[in-house]
Each structure stands twice: as structure tokens, then as C-alpha cells.
């Protein structure tokens, strides 16, 4: 069969052949040929992850080691603090934290995970941004750090209430980990970096393994009857129900962390009056948003009816109101809620829980209300 033009240049993860053999429906995503779903389908894959365990290939994401030239991890942490509004110095060894690269206007260049591996930092960044992130790190931190993209590693997420017992059969040290612990662990004798985290709202793990061992490891996990392979379709509906941002949709260069309702991710030490206040790109604007509030805010939205309200739908204050007041940035059907869920930006004065709004879908104004996120209670093991 001839390969369509748009697939000729697509990259493959180390698990590509496995996806194809499992019947994955492959689609282009962030330059990779990735499974959007397997034969079970998005709905079953989603519900299985919440009921048992799902295995996700997230090897397209960027894994980068930030190695301090001084040999002291604090120096890498201080350097990275020049690019993110988070307290990186305070990340204890074998812990990780959610962060954002910001730009000079206070917008978000990418969101990422930062782990302290004792002698270096380990970063996981979005697939679509990884080349730009790497260039950004080189341009700004090369004096202090060696920027080392770990291109020969796969990343496998195992998510769901059975993730711990499944991983425990291959990794005796996994059950002792708590949410956002991260460090080196042996999984089936393979030297891996394991974090207790993920992007589904469920307890679970992300396992970074050498590319050459990835398929063997994934197959061992899939041999467990509690584990199903999960595609990008369910990954998206799971993270949406969990109220988590998708970069390029819910957050981008035009949204500040405050507008995005990510204040929780910016520690006090980096805010006004903190020990290391400011000192990151866009600090003036972001700290002003902290101090004075922002005029718009990312909120959760629940529709009254059953019609999904999707990305791009305009939001209105009334059924007949003229000008849109905001826009949906992610939306779809939440299989665990058996109802539509969405998130979007609205004026802060219309962001209170329960505020009635309308979304325009195919020319009709559908009623919805501002709702608390996560939509589905998260089950992190803290």
C-alpha cells in the first residue's frame, strides 16, 4: 500500500510496531505516527483506565537531562528558575514538580515536569514543543548546564487504580512511591526512571526506559489482564475530565499562569515578597496578575444537555447576548461522567462556580454552567 504523503515524514516511537500489531488506528500527532485508539475504542479505553489500568505510549514527549557544569544540582535548579516561575531549588531529591516555561509577555511557551535526580534535573516536555524547548534551554542555560536530550529513551505511562499492583509485579520499589516521587528504579531488571504521576487524574506511573527495552517492557505490562493499551483519544478525554491543561489549546503564549488558573503551581518564594520573587520571563506581568488579578480566567464548564461543546465554541453571557465573552479551549464528552465537559476562558467576573453561560454550537445557544475542576475526583496517592 502506498504511504500517504503526510505520513512519509512522521517519526516513530520505540513502540510503533507494537501499536500496529495491537491494531492501533494510527494518526499523525506532533510529528509522530501515534495510535489514536485500539480496537476496544475510546470509550472502553477511557473507562478501563478509571476502573483498572491503562498503558499509554508517551515516548513522543521530550526527555531532557539538565546537568550542572559545577556538579551541584542546586546550580542547575537556580539556572532553570530563570526560565520558569516555579521554585525549582526547593524540589527535594527524587521529587518532581509541574512547571511552565514563560515568555517575556508572561505567556506560556510550554508546560513541563521537572524532577530532581540528585546530581541533575530531569525534564519532560511536550512533543510539539520539544525542539523549541531544547533551543530555549541552550540559549539561556548553556553557561551553567549541559543540556542533554535523552532521545534514545521511551516513556510509558501506566495509569489507573490497578497501576500500583501491576507495576509492583515488575518493580518491588514502586508501591513505596508517593505522588510526584521520581527517581531511578529497576523495572523487570531494566534501569528506568520512574515517577508516580501522569495526566489522567488517576494514580499511576510514568516509566522512562531505554528505547531498546521499551517494547519488551510494554509487552510485560500488557500481559497483565488488568492492563489495556490506551490511545491518544482516551488520553485526551481522561485529562479533560481531570481538568488538566493541554498545551496549545488551554494554555499557550497568550495565556499567563494566573489566567490559566495555575496559581497553585507557582510557589510563594517566586511571588511578590518571596525569597526569590520574579526573575523569570514575564515576571512583571505574571506578578501583577497575582497581585491585582487577571481580567479573564480558565474555568470548567458543564453543559445542561448532552451535546458536546467543543474547542472553539464561542461563549455568551445570555441566550440572546450579542458579543461573545469567551471561548471553549477544550471540550468533548466525558465518558466517566456520561456527559459533556469543557474548559474555556471567561471574564473573571463571570468565573464564579455556577455562573450560567451559553455556548454557540451549530447556530444554537446551549446552556452551560461554570463548574469545579477536576470534573472527576483525582485519586493521586499523596
Amino acid at each position: 500500500m502506498p504511504v500517504p504523503d503526510d505520513q512519509k515524514s512522521l517519526r516513530h516511537t520505540p513502540l510503533h510496531a507494537l501499536h500496529v500489531s495491537l491494531g492501533g488506528k494510527m494518526v499523525p500527532f506532533a510529528g509522530y505516527d501515534m495510535p489514536v485508539q485500539y480496537p476496544a475504542g475510546v470509550l472502553k479505553e477511557h473507562l478501563h483506565t478509571r476502573a483498572a489500568a491503562g498503558l499509554f505510549d508517551v515516548s513522543h514527549m521530550g526527555q531532557i537531562a539538565l546537568r550542572p557544569k559545577s556538579g551541584k544540582v542546586e546550580d542547575a535548579a537556580r539556572a532553570l528558575e530563570r526560565l520558569v516561575p516555579q521554585d525549582i531549588v526547593a524540589i527535594a531529591p527524587n521529587r518532581q514538580r509541574y512547571a511552565q516555561f514563560t515568555n517575556k509577555d508572561g505567556g506560556i511557551l510550554d508546560d513541563l515536569m521537572v524532577a530532581n535526580f540528585g546530581d541533575h534535573l530531569f525534564l519532560v516536555v511536550n512533543a510539539a514543543c520539544k525542539d523549541a524547548d531544547e533551543a530555549h534551554l541552550r540559549a539561556n542555560l548553556s553557561g551553567d548546564c549541559v543540556i542533554d536530550p535523552l532521545a534514545d529513551r521511551a516513556l510509558i505511562a501506566l495509569q489507573g487504580p490497578k497501576a500500583e499492583t501491576v507495576l509492583a509485579t515488575l518493580c518491588a520499589t514502586a508501591p513505596s512511591m508517593k505522588f510526584m516521587d521520581a527517581g531511578p528504579h529497576e523495572v523487570a531488571g531494566i534501569k528506568c526512571f520512574v515517577s508516580r504521576s501522569g495526566y489522567t487524574g488517576e494514580d499511576g506511573f510514568e516509566i522512562s526506559a531505554p528505547a531498546s527495552d521499551a517494547e519488551r517492557l510494554a509487552k510485560m505490562l500488557l500481559d497483565n489482564p488488568d492492563v489495556l493499551p490506551i490511545g491518544l483519544g482516551a488520553r485526551d478525554s481522561l485529562r479533560l475530565e481531570a481538568g488538566l491543561c493541554l498545551y496549545g489549546h488551554d494554555i499557550d503564549t497568550a495565556t499567563t499562569p494566573v489566567e490559566a488558573a495555575l496559581e497553585w503551581s507557582v510557589q510563594k518564594s517566586r511571588r511578590s515578597g518571596g525569597a526569590r520573587a520574579g526573575g523569570f520571563p514575564g515576571a512583571e506581568k505574571i506578578l501583577a496578575h497575582f497581585d491585582n488579578g487577571a481580567t479573564r480566567r480558565r474555568v470548567g464548564l458543564r453543559a445542561e444537555g448532552r451535546a458536546p461543546v467543543r474547542e472553539g465554541a464561542l461563549l455568551f453571557a445570555g441566550a440572546d447576548a450579542g458579543e461573545p465573552i469567551g471561548q471553549v479551549t477544550s471540550g468533548g464528552f466525558g465518558p466517566s461522567l456520561n456527559a459533556p465537559v469543557a474548559m474555556g476562558y471567561v471574564p473573571t467576573k463571570l468565573s464564579a462556580l455556577g455562573t450560567k453561560l451559553f455556548a454557540e454550537v451549530r447556530g444554537q445557544r446551549l446552556p452551560l454552567a461554570v463548574a469545579a475542576m477536576p470534573f472527576v475526583k483525582n485519586t493521586y496517592k499523596r
Binding site: L43, H46, R306
Partner: protein, 122 residues
């Protein structure tokens, strides 16, 4: 005696006299995946051939269903509103979308029979 015809856009029509029952094909539901919502046209609406008549939504995306012929909507399948998954389980049976009064039977000439449709999706 009914005859079933197909459009290139994966709708089926079961023709009985001057009334066509319209749905989406089994091939179409497989491509869409799990259907979670169906929006049907209003009864009495005058549809033009190829006009967007209904919407079928999977977890991932919304797709239009087009009017295969010109005519008036006589009846819609209320069961689809409460049980959209019928589209996956019985696309060419219980999951019919709407019935339309065919305004011009000559429009049927451009549609495919089952053999032609099977070849179209092969």
C-alpha cells in the same frame, strides 16, 4: 418491497414508495467510533439534497450527516437521543436517523446499490 441505496458520504436510504428511511452505514460507524450524541432534524423541515441534516458525535469529533435527497422530514428516531450507542450496535437497523418524503425520485439515480457501495469502501 424496500430497496436500499447508499451515498458516497456513507448514508443509507431504505426506499419504500416515496418515503426514504435514512441512517449512516456500518462502515461509517466503525470509522467514527463510539457515538455519544446524535442531533436530528426537526420534523417538517424541508431538506435540500446534500444539505447537513443531522450531526453524529463520537467522543473525539462531530460529523455531519447529509440529506441524501431533497424532501420533507416526516419522522425522526427518538430512541437515538436516549441511546446514541445504537448507532454503533445496529447502524443499518434500529439506528435509523430520520424518514424523508422524497420530492424528486430522479435524485435516486445518482445513488449506489449495495455492490457499488461495498466497492466504494473497499
Amino acid at each position: 418491497m424496500t430497496t436500499t441505496l447508499y451515498t458516497p458520504d456513507h448514508e443509507w436510504l431504505a426506499i419504500d414508495g416515496d418515503v426514504a428511511t435514512v441512517g449512516i452505514t456500518d462502515y461509517a460507524q466503525q470509522q467514527l467510533g463510539d457515538v455519544v450524541f446524535v442531533e436530528l432534524p426537526k420534523i417538517g423541515r424541508a431538506l435540500k439534497k446534500a444539505e447537513a441534516a443531522a450531526v453524529v458525535e463520537s467522543v473525539k469529533a462531530a460529523s455531519d450527516v447529509y440529506a441524501p435527497v431533497t424532501g420533507e422530514v416526516l419522522e425522526t428516531n427518538a430512541e437515538l437521543a436516549s441511546e446514541p450507542a445504537l448507532v454503533n450496535s445496529d447502524a443499518q437497523g434500529k439506528a435509523w436517523f430520520f424518514k424523508i418524503k422524497i420530492a424528486d425520485k430522479s435524485e435516486l439515480g445518482g445513488l449506489m446499490d449495495e455492490a457499488a457501495y461495498t466497492a466504494h469502501t473497499a
